[in-house]
């Protein structure tokens, strides 16, 4: 059954825009999807990352003791500036504290400003947002504040673990890579990549429209390479479409939200950005006076308990307080059922008398207060448990494959006599660089997991070494890839290196921490099992794509190499053509 396709001209024009947009964003999009798929588990892997955190999760937390611990260790702790306390859960046995302290110089803040903006949006429902309109308002121009985070261990007498020199940043590094946080303006670039991904998805569906149904049932890994890549690209693109459109839109939203909110702020709210924010987070717009009289009695723990009693069906995730220790201060308790897509809410108390200032009951949430929460939950797979996360991960990997097959299809479709040798060499080179960047990321990811275990825990600045190991090995792998002129050889090498390194991850974890497949802790053993599975999959891919040609004669597979005169031919044909 053929559907009615686009008219000839529109078809060709949109085809071209699809190709150009796709090729331009392809490797960045791959990195975003790949790192993003891993980032879905960024909280879940903490107990694996940090062997010291493999302790029992405390059942009760006294917030006053948390505050005492912070005050004792941070003499310049700015109590009245917004701070967030994130409670322990089964993934993370420590209390996470995000606060501010007064300090003399303010270079650090300027440097981090841009990254913070992105995190604030991305983590807004996580409650760890760095900035809020109320905080911006309460920042005095003379005293500069510096934000810090710390872990507090309730199991060990509320021991303070400062993170100025963090012990581990594995998941943080991969998460930052997800929104290209390591390069300037990375968040905006990733936003635009998501936008063009949306564009490419829509144009892709439009040009594929007439074959949509017929091709869907003709999915096969047989035939010419061009056919295989076409099938993989179009069919996987169609199957993954809802998932991909969701990520294109929510990704663009997180990256480019400022771009959209600024015009609204200027035209509809007379230039007041805090009013725009207030529509999303009303508790962030409560005005406070930082010179208000001090409040003598401690209150935070009391309101936390009160919120727990008021919403017994929900788990309190975090508590944020503004102008704490002052008469007009207030605190918001955020809770979530971690099950439904709209199951999060908050209650805000005035610290002085416990008056409920704002309440967002998940059962009676309005559209306005739901949208951003829902979008965040969709994007971070935070609504269905670990099975959903695995589905997200697999769909993410399928999308990665779809992106790469698009690049290979682009090259293969141009590998004929309608193109000059110079053009063909260019296509070959571009594809090779893209494949090296994308596939090199796989062994590099295994290396960051290995480095996380191999760099001794006591070492000062170990997180930097782990990070450097990741980026340096990625760079070396990419450079090595440039010498592998045959795509099949390139793919095999990365899969073999990655596969071996993957299988080493659980071994090194066992050797270093002594926890060999720690089945009593699903969050630790899960990572080990994941890497065993990944290593075996990599070997399987090697086996099927290299050793055992699938109904495609050897000669055909090497055809690109024959027609593309490449400078170095020594490594081109390793295996004799039979």
């Amino acid at each position: 059954m053929k559907l009615k396709g686009l008219p000839q001209k529109a078809y060709n024009v949109l085809f071209h825009t699809h190709t150009v947009a796709g090729i331009v964003i392809s490797f960045a999009l791959f990195i975003i999807f790949y790192a993003g798929s891993f980032s879905i588990f960024r909280h879940d892997i903490y107990r694996w990352e940090n062997p010291n955190a493999r302790i029992e999760v405390p059942t009760t937390v006294d917030l006053e003791k948390v505050l005492e611990s912070v005050k004792a260790n941070k003499p310049d702790f700015a109590e009245s500036v917004l701070f967030t306390v994130r409670l322990p859960d089964e993934k993370m046995p420590y209390v996470q504290f995000f606060g501010a302290e007064y300090e003399e110089d303010h270079e650090e803040e300027e440097k981090e400003g841009e990254e913070k903006a992105g995190e604030a949006i991305a983590e807004s429902t996580d409650g760890t947002a760095a900035k809020d309109s109320s905080e911006v308002a309460s920042e005095a121009p003379k005293k500069h504040i510096h934000r810090f985070k710390a872990w507090i261990n309730p199991a060990n007498n509320y021991e303070y673990i400062g993170l100025d020199q963090p012990v581990t940043t594995l998941s943080d590094t991969i998460y930052r890579l997800h929104y290209l946080g390591q390069i300037p303006l990375g968040l905006y670039i990733s936003g635009f990549v998501a936008l063009f991904f949306f564009f490419a998805s829509v144009t892709g569906i439009l040009i594929h429209w007439r074959n949509l149904i017929t091709k869907f049932y003709a999915f096969t890994f047989r035939g010419k390479w061009k056919q295989i890549w076409t099938n993989a690209h179009t069919v996987l693109g169609v199957i993954g479409l809802p998932f991909q459109i969701m990520y294109a839109v929510t990704g663009a939203l997180f990256g480019l939200l400022t771009l959209l909110l600024i015009p609204s702020a200027f035209v509809l709210f007379g230039g007041d950005t805090s009013k725009v924010l207030a529509t999303v987070r009303p508790e962030g717009a409560i005005k406070v006076d930082k010179d208000a009289p001090p409040l003598d009695h401690p209150t935070l723990d009391h309101y936390y308990q009160k919120a727990v009693a008021a919403f017994p069906k929900y788990q309190v995730a975090n508590i944020r307080a503004t102008n704490h220790g002052r008469e007009d201060g207030f605190c918001s308790v955020y809770f979530d059922d971690h099950k439904t897509i709209n199951g999060s809410g908050q209650i805000t108390y005035a610290l002085k008398d416990g008056e409920v200032l704002i309440k967002t009951d998940p059962a009676k949430k309005t559209y306005t207060s739901s949208v951003l929460n829902t979008v965040t939950k969709l994007h971070f797979a935070a609504y269905g448990g670990w099975m959903l996360k695995i589905i997200y991960f697999l769909l993410g990997m399928i999308t990665c494959f779809m992106i790469l097959s698009g690049v290979l299809l682009w090259q293969e479709a141009r590998n004929n006599n309608r193109y000059t040798d110079k053009q063909k060499r260019f296509h070959h080179k571009v594809t090779k660089v893209y494949l090296a960047i994308c596939l090199g990321l796989f062994p590099a990811t295994a290396i960051i997991f290995l480095a996380n275990k191999l760099v001794p825990m006591e070492m000062i600045g170990r997180a930097t070494y782990v990070k450097s190991a990741f980026f340096l090995s990625w760079l070396i792998l990419v450079i090595a890839g440039l010498f592998w002129n045959n795509f099949r050889q390139l793919n095999r090498n990365y899969m073999l290196i990655g596969g071996v390194l993957s299988l080493l991850v659980p071994v090194v974890n066992g050797l270093v921490t002594g926890d060999w497949l720690l089945f009593s802790d699903p969050y630790v053993v899960g990572v080990d099992i994941f890497w065993i599975f990944t290593g075996l999959s990599a070997f399987t891919i090697c086996y099927y794509t290299y050793k055992k040609p699938i109904a495609v004669p050897q000669v055909k597979k090497h055809k690109p190499m024959k027609s593309v005169p490449v400078p170095s031919t020594s490594s081109v044909r390793q295996k004799p053509v039979s």
Partner: protein, 93 residues
């Protein structure tokens, strides 16, 4: 497989269409949302909806820009649309 060259336009026209789609499309998509925001009482709803619906319109205008025969006409149409929206916002606010 690759698109047929005879249907594609030249460099100058392409630049016009790309810029009309990305820049003009963005401005028009935002302008349309602002008109709705100016017209309704509950502006918060429009602002929060625009956080995702703007992208739908933006991508639509990007695609439409390429379907114009002449890039100048694409820009002209989008600028006219933006001007109409601006006038409406002026009247409504």
């Amino acid at each position: 497989m690759p698109a047929k060259q005879e249907y594609l336009s030249g460099r100058g026209q392409r630049a016009l269409k790309v810029s009309a789609g990305i820049l003009g499309g963005f401005l028009l998509a935002v302008a349309i949302h602002l008109v709705i925001g100016a017209a309704v009482e509950d502006k918060g709803v429009v602002v929060i909806t625009s956080a995702y619906s703007t992208f739908f319109l933006w991508v639509l205008f990007m695609i439409l820009a390429f379907l114009f025969k002449n890039g100048w006409k694409a820009w002209g149409t989008y600028l006219l649309g933006i001007a109409i929206c601006a006038a409406l916002i002026y009247v409504l606010l």
